[in-house]
């Protein structure tokens, strides 16, 4: 039963809001001697729409009696419209870019959706680039992102569960999944974790990611990101869950295994041999990035005898003028390489590449010429840095960047045994962690031949089943 409201309350509320200095605008319209107030915030609304679809039809209205219901049903042209009577909600509606129409003598008010947010158009992806893939990347606009997904997945079972997160920002967070494919348990878990988030503001999907991961201290990422709408849709179809956050151009994808980070979307429809080859190449490059410098330390410092005799001399002569030992040399060069990388990321686009090239060539050449590092070390660092760009999702390689130094130190202390020990510890970490309940190293550990085969081949025509580790409801793809 609706609570009876005094007519004057809305006007009083309106005056209160005006005093708060939050930039509320009020348009007073008088029709047949009765006042109508339209309240909105200029920066959040489409003022043309207000003028043409609310004010104009109101001013043209000639009948005597003007009621809330009459306005909604016969006067204004706005499509998304509703009626409310709670005066305390007015502020929320207005802050969300809606226009509130108040008739002083009425007991309820109209909410018209006239919101307009400044947004950029759909552009090509910046971080998940691919040769043969659609180029419609997500933008910061929530509705645009949802529309990109809806456009690709015209299926009634696509569920979009909305949540409001952030005490002050009141950011919309949507959980997207296929109702008849995704495992209920995972969906429940994701929703539960999102509902538990209690923070003042969410600015980016990364905020949500931080709050929902299993273990904040895990070095490897356990939530994937999708910059392209096709990647997000492919993951939803696979049985995964996608989380869209208002104001973020990166969707979150979960559960995400280690293998998924090295799986590029176009692997599934590219030449099958090339897909297998590139997948192998990516694993090789991640291994190289991780152990190349450490192997150099092991070979130069401890176990030179594992090299062929001819190569021993080549390595030794290349290091003659180097004043520091291999451990310091490797740490120094990797540090410089990381410094260059970090500097070139932060620099403006116009000068970034120039600094990258200058830094690499000048520092590399000068260091060798000055006899500070060996030419071999420069090759190794360049190769390991290059190798660390080969994964389609850069987040997994951030972990490798840190672990590379761990491997160098442990090898510097324990030699080849240290290298093996460090590598084993990393593998232990990978195989023993989970992402939302899914073993992180699936399908390699626990091993499933069919999933493994599908993962390696990746061809959309050959993969008839969805991955078993995702425990999806609908197990077949075709």
């Amino acid at each position: 039963m609706k609570e009876f409201k005094n007519n004057k309350n809305f006007i009083r509320k309106l005056k209160e809001l005006k005093q708060k200095d939050i930039g509320i605008s009020t348009r007073r319209v008088v029709i047949n001697n009765s006042e109508i107030f339209i309240i909105y915030i200029q920066q959040l609304t489409d003022r043309d729409l207000i003028s043409s679809s609310i004010i104009k039809p109101l001013l043209h209205f000639k009948e005597d009696r003007l009621s809330i219901e009459k306005i909604v049903s016969s006067v204004i042209y706005i499509d998304d419209i509703s009626i409310d009577d709670n005066e305390n909600d007015i502020i929320d509606y207005v802050l969300n870019g809606k226009s509130v129409i108040i008739i002083p003598r009425e007991q309820s008010y109209i909410i018209a959706n006239t919101s307009k947010v400044e947004k950029r158009s759909v552009e090509a992806p910046d971080i998940q680039t691919s040769l043969k893939a659609p180029r419609d990347a997500f933008t910061e606009n929530f509705q645009t992102n949802l529309s990109l997904i809806r456009y690709r997945l015209k299926d009634e079972s696509l569920k979009i569960d909305n949540h409001i997160v952030g005490r002050r920002t009141k950011t919309s967070v949507s959980v997207l999944y296929m109702k008849d494919i995704a495992n209920e348990e995972y969906v429940k878990e994701v929703k539960k974790r999102i509902e538990k988030i209690d923070v003042d503001g969410i600015m980016e999907s990364g905020y949500v990611q931080k709050f929902i991961v299993d273990n904040v201290f895990n070095i490897f990422p356990h939530v994937g990101i999708a910059e392209r709408s096709d990647t997000a849709c492919a993951n939803i179809l696979k049985g995964k869950i996608c989380v869209l956050v208002e104001g973020s151009n990166l969707a979150l994808v979960m559960p995400q295994t280690f293998g998924d980070f090295l799986d590029s979307g176009d692997d599934h429809y590219d030449n099958i041999y090339l897909a297998v080859f590139t997948k192998f190449l990516r694993y090789l490059s991640i291994t190289l990035a991780l152990i190349l410098s450490a192997s150099y330390v092991a070979v130069v410092g401890f176990h030179s005898d594992i090299l062929p005799p001819q190569f021993i001399l080549a390595v030794a002569t290349s290091r003659v003028t180097v004043p520091v030992n291999a451990l310091v040399e490797a740490t120094l060069m990797e540090g410089v390489s990381e410094l260059l990388r970090e500097a070139s990321i932060r620099l403006p686009k116009q000068i970034g590449p120039a600094i990258g090239i200058v830094g690499t060539i000048v520092i590399g050449q000068a260091a060798v010429a000055a006899g500070l590092v060996s030419p071999l070390m420069v090759i190794i660092v360049s190769l390991s840095t290059m190798a660390s760009f080969a994964a389609p999702d850069y987040t997994v390689l951030n972990a490798v960047r840190i672990l590379k130094f761990f491997m160098i130190f442990i090898t510097g202390v324990f030699g080849l045994f240290g290298l093996v020990m460090g590598y084993t510890l990393i593998i232990i970490n990978l195989v023993s962690s989970t992402s939302f309940g899914v073993p992180y190293f699936s399908p390699m550990a626990p091993f499933n031949l069919n999933d493994f085969k599908n993962y390696i081949l990746g061809d959309i025509n050959l993969i008839k089943l969805r991955p078993k580790y995702l425990k999806s409801k609908d197990k077949t793809k075709h």
Binding site: P309, T321, F414
Partner: protein, 377 residues
């Protein structure tokens, strides 16, 4: 988390601490990389003649460091004293893993190389695939040679022996194989024999080692019989003629198709049967002419005869002159007749045992010469 991984950490850390650690750390450029070791006996002292890599930094335009070698000698009553003498002149600790060749001087080879072979076996940084050779000149003289064909004597010997053994004209016995022969006791072994020639190093033939002592050499020209029996995948060239046309020589490339060595024990005597199947390819004739099937068979028989003679001659020499089983027939006999082998003294029996050599040869390729041309066309 640490508790969860504690067992794994213990399993990984403890062996690492025991097996290696920063106390073993020594950069490769801070070690004396030995390329060649020469061992000899001079006036009652052990002599080590070594070639060591001198790591020279780059100069001028060339940005890559240049490789260089320095040579020196050290002496001592024993290996250990010689090593002390050696180490006392060294800027860095010795590194033996890059050693390409160990040269035994004639004096040391005659006295017996077994001690040094055992030293190679047990010193962890020596490679067991190392090449060992015997030199005609004293080891120090050979190593001091200023070779022009390579940057060091060691590199030259190793490259030369690798090339010759791949071609099938020399043996490349590795230390590991020789140690296995030494441990058997009853057999001798063969090492490459090299010498100085015109400011360079030359492969002279094979050195016959009995009880690890040098007892004789086989010249490179007479070593074919040994290579037919011992080389891994030899390729030979033989020239034969037909009776009716002595002028026209036929040059054949010969490969071993099958080599079977079987043994038996009959009437109190070991018998060794060597069966060789040769595959011959005609390379060219001195004067081109048709060869019919009959002539082809004659050529096959001639090749068999020539090869059989090589083998029987060297076997005879090994029984009469060297009195030593350099072909390791003992290994075959021991495998076939283990009980008998234990009872007999193989080294004493060897000069008397019967060795049957049977060589079959087949021409498999006439290099586009059609033997039936005359009949068909």
């Amino acid at each position: 988390m640490i508790r969860r991984y504690s067992k794994i950490l213990i399993i990984l850390v403890i062996p690492s601490l025991i097996l290696t650690g920063c106390w073993d750390y020594q950069d490769i450029d801070k070690r004396s990389i030995i390329i060649t070791v020469g061992v000899d006996h001079i006036k009652g002292d052990v002599e080590f003649a070594t070639e060591v890599a001198r790591l020279v930094p780059s100069a001028g335009e060339a940005k890559i460091a240049k490789q260089d070698i320095y040579k020196d000698l050290s002496y001592g009553k024993t290996f250990e004293f010689a090593r002390v003498d050696y180490d006392s002149r060294r800027p860095f600790p010795t590194f033996l893993s890059a050693t390409r060749v160990v040269v035994f001087g004639p004096n040391y080879a005659k006295e017996g190389v077994e001690p040094y072979m055992n030293r190679i076996n047990k010193m962890y940084d020596y490679r067991k695939t190392l090449l060992t050779v015997v030199s005609r000149e004293p080891a120090s003289e050979l190593i001091q040679t200023k070779v022009k064909k390579s940057i060091s004597v060691g590199f030259l010997i190793e490259d030369m022996m690798t090339f010759l053994s791949e071609k099938g004209t020399a043996l490349y016995p590795k230390v590991g194989e020789i140690l296995s022969d030494i441990s058997l006791g009853d057999v001798g072994y063969i090492l490459p024999y090299i010498g100085k020639s015109q400011e360079s190093i030359k492969y002279l033939g094979l050195a016959i080692m009995k009880e690890s002592k040098l007892i004789g050499t086989v010249d490179v020209k007479n070593s074919e019989g040994i290579l037919y029996l011992l080389a891994e995948d030899p390729v030979f060239t033989e020239i034969v003629t037909l009776e009716n046309d002595k002028e026209n020589k036929y040059s054949f490339r010969i490969k071993i198709g099958d080599r079977k060595i079987k043994s038996e024990y009959k009437e109190g005597k070991p018998i060794i049967n060597v069966d060789l199947e040769l595959k011959n390819q005609l390379q060219y004739q001195y004067y081109v002419g048709p060869i019919n099937d009959e002539e082809k068979k004659i050529l096959e028989k001639k090749i068999s005869k020539v090869v059989k003679k090589y083998i029987t001659d060297i076997i005879k020499r090994s029984q009469e002159e060297f009195e030593c089983d350099i072909f390791s027939f003992a290994k075959y006999f021991r495998a076939d007749n283990p009980k008998v082998y234990k009872k007999i003294d193989w080294s004493k029996e060897y000069p008397e045992i019967k060795i049957n050599v049977n060589v079959k040869s087949k021409i498999i390729n006439m290099n586009l010469s059609d033997p039936s041309a005359k009949q068909n066309y």
